[in-house]
Amino acid sequence: MEDEVVVEAKQLLVRYGDFTAVDHISFAVRRGEIYGFLGANGAGKTTTIRVLCGLLPPTSGDVRVAGIGYRQDEAPLKAVARPPWGMRISAGGYERVERTIKTKVGYMSQKFTLYNDLTVGENLDFIASLHKMAPAVYRRRRQELLEFISFKKNLGDMVGELSGGIKQQVSLAAAMLHDPEIVFLDEPTAGVTPAGRLRFWKLIRRLAENGKTVFVTTHYMDEAEQCGRIALMRDGRLIAEDSPAGLKKLIFPEPVFEFDPIKPLSFSELKSFETHEAFSFFQPYGHRFHAAAANAEVWARRAPDLRTIFSIRPIAPSLEDVFIRAIEGRR
């Protein structure tokens, strides 16, 4: 069962009116994978997730999630203006399909999915009732999940009074309440502190170890490093897909160096290095810089000069470097 594909999209297309949000993308995610979905804001990540969760019908293409397949016929669909219910659809009916998928997937959206003016317990009660969970099953799941996230506050605490990190963990528990096979996490850690993000990712890894499939988007590249595979999206298209190490090799075939300025650089000096002939890539990274050599010959000629300004050491490119080069399409 390890290699079983649980999320699959083939030639998935989503249009909002004239705007193509997702442009014929295809991918397959296996059970127990942590699959990262990266891209600039507006690249089509959230739209894709909404289709996979059964919240938005695709304009065309095939989607199969947890063994349930569905597709929308080619007819362009005004998904924004009109919900798909009752429209002409393929065998099975969209609405029925959508209901079944919701029992198999959990979804934690970008914005908080909990009500701030309800207590933790009331929020969970409410979600359990949406899923029509039997009381005994619900109480057992709630207990398991609160232990899973090491919840030390009270069920009677208002969600609005929790810190951002704890709130995110409770949101995760809420998304997992009905014991879905697959969980979609859309920027789950935006605005959470570094320590809170670490704790959250420990939970994500444990979910995957327990056979859950995790589909996650993030703008934090240190988090993306922890994904098994990553898909890079740009303008609705999937431009690369590989493990973090594989993506680094693919996007940076040439050697990469860390440049540590011996004295601080002014803004104009920094700008001049971005277009310096020795580099095919030059980007700030904290107070240091990551650079790729344009070619061996120019590098050999210019390196002695550069060593008077920077201390230089070879490094592996970071995923942030990969993101910038791949998404921006800069030289």
Binding site: G39, A40, N41, G42, Q110, E161, S163, G164, G165, E187, A190, G191, V192, T193, P194, A195, G196, L198, H219, M221, D222, F267, L270, Q283, P284, Y285, G286, H287, R288, E320, F323, I324, I327, E328
Partner: protein
């Protein structure tokens, strides 16, 4: 170019009692012009409270904020129009386009047509938002939305700009573009005050002030602070601290 003399701010022993979170217990800091000051600290440490007090949106329970113009004491009321603020959750008008936002703030601030035309062109060019001027704010991506917020704040050429987590939820490329916009301001002698949860950004500040539980625990140039703590990066420093207090 910011008209008028540079503004600096001194915070002296500021206290604020405020529910459980975000209290301040005797903050003393100097914010000099032409520098990017990063205020770094865990959630609930008091960063936003400090910013709100600096901006006159809240009174300290104890202590003083001193404002200076060209090195001479000045009253906050006189300087207020020259201090801009970009809050964490900024509310722009979802159904107004970028162009309409700029025009709205032009009228609100009473900016003269010629000055406006120049400023508008400059901001659209450095923000790379020129192709999107007709797009409503509600349809902008997270990064573009933040850039529009910054443009509206910069429209009247402030001498101080205060930004509360400007890059949260913004992709790595837009994040760099926002920082480039901020760096440009420094060359004009503007005082930039920024909070961030991204520790690589902390390293790009001229000075960082680490705040924990309402007190300043360290303050200085990032390189010096890191050398002092024998850490290679702020990421490393914070992970070490987090490991030390994993019980939160």
């Amino acid at each position: 170019m910011a008209a008028g003399e540079p503004i600096s701010i001194q915070v002296r022993d500021v206290h604020k009692e405020f529910r459980r979170f975000e209290a301040l217990h005797g903050i003393t800091l100097d914010f000099d012009p032409g520098l990017m000051h990063g205020i770094i600290g865990p959630e609930g440490s008091g960063k936003t409270t400090l910013l709100r007090i600096l901006l006159g949106l809240m009174r300290p329970a104890q202590g003083r904020i001193l404002y200076f113009e060209g090195g001479r004491p000045a009253s906050f009321d006189v300087l207020r129009p020259h201090i801009a603020y970009m809050p964490q959750a900024q509310s722009l008008y979802p159904d107004l386009s970028i162009e309409e936002h700029l025009a709205f703030f032009r009228d609100l601030y009473g900016i003269q047509p010629r000055a406006y035309a120049e400023k508008r062109a400059e901001l659209l060019s450095v923000s790379r938002l020129a192709p999107f001027v007709d797009r409503p704010a509600g349809q902008l991506s997270g990064g573009m939305y933040k850039k529009l917020g910054l443009m509206c704040a910069l429209l009247r050429s402030p001498r101080v700009i205060v930004l509360d987590e400007p890059t949260t939820g913004v992709d790595p490329i837009s994040r760099r573009e926002l920082w480039e916009l901020l760096y440009r301001l420094l060359d004009q002698g503007i005082l930039v005050l920024v909070t961030t949860a991204y520790l690589d950004e902390a390293e790009r500040c001229s000075k960082v002030h680490l705040i924990e539980s309402g007190s300043v625990i360290a303050s200085g140039e990032p390189r010096a602070l890191l050398d002092d703590q024998k850490a290679r990066s702020f990421d490393e420093l914070f992970l070490r601290r987090a490991a030390g207090s994993a019980s939160e």
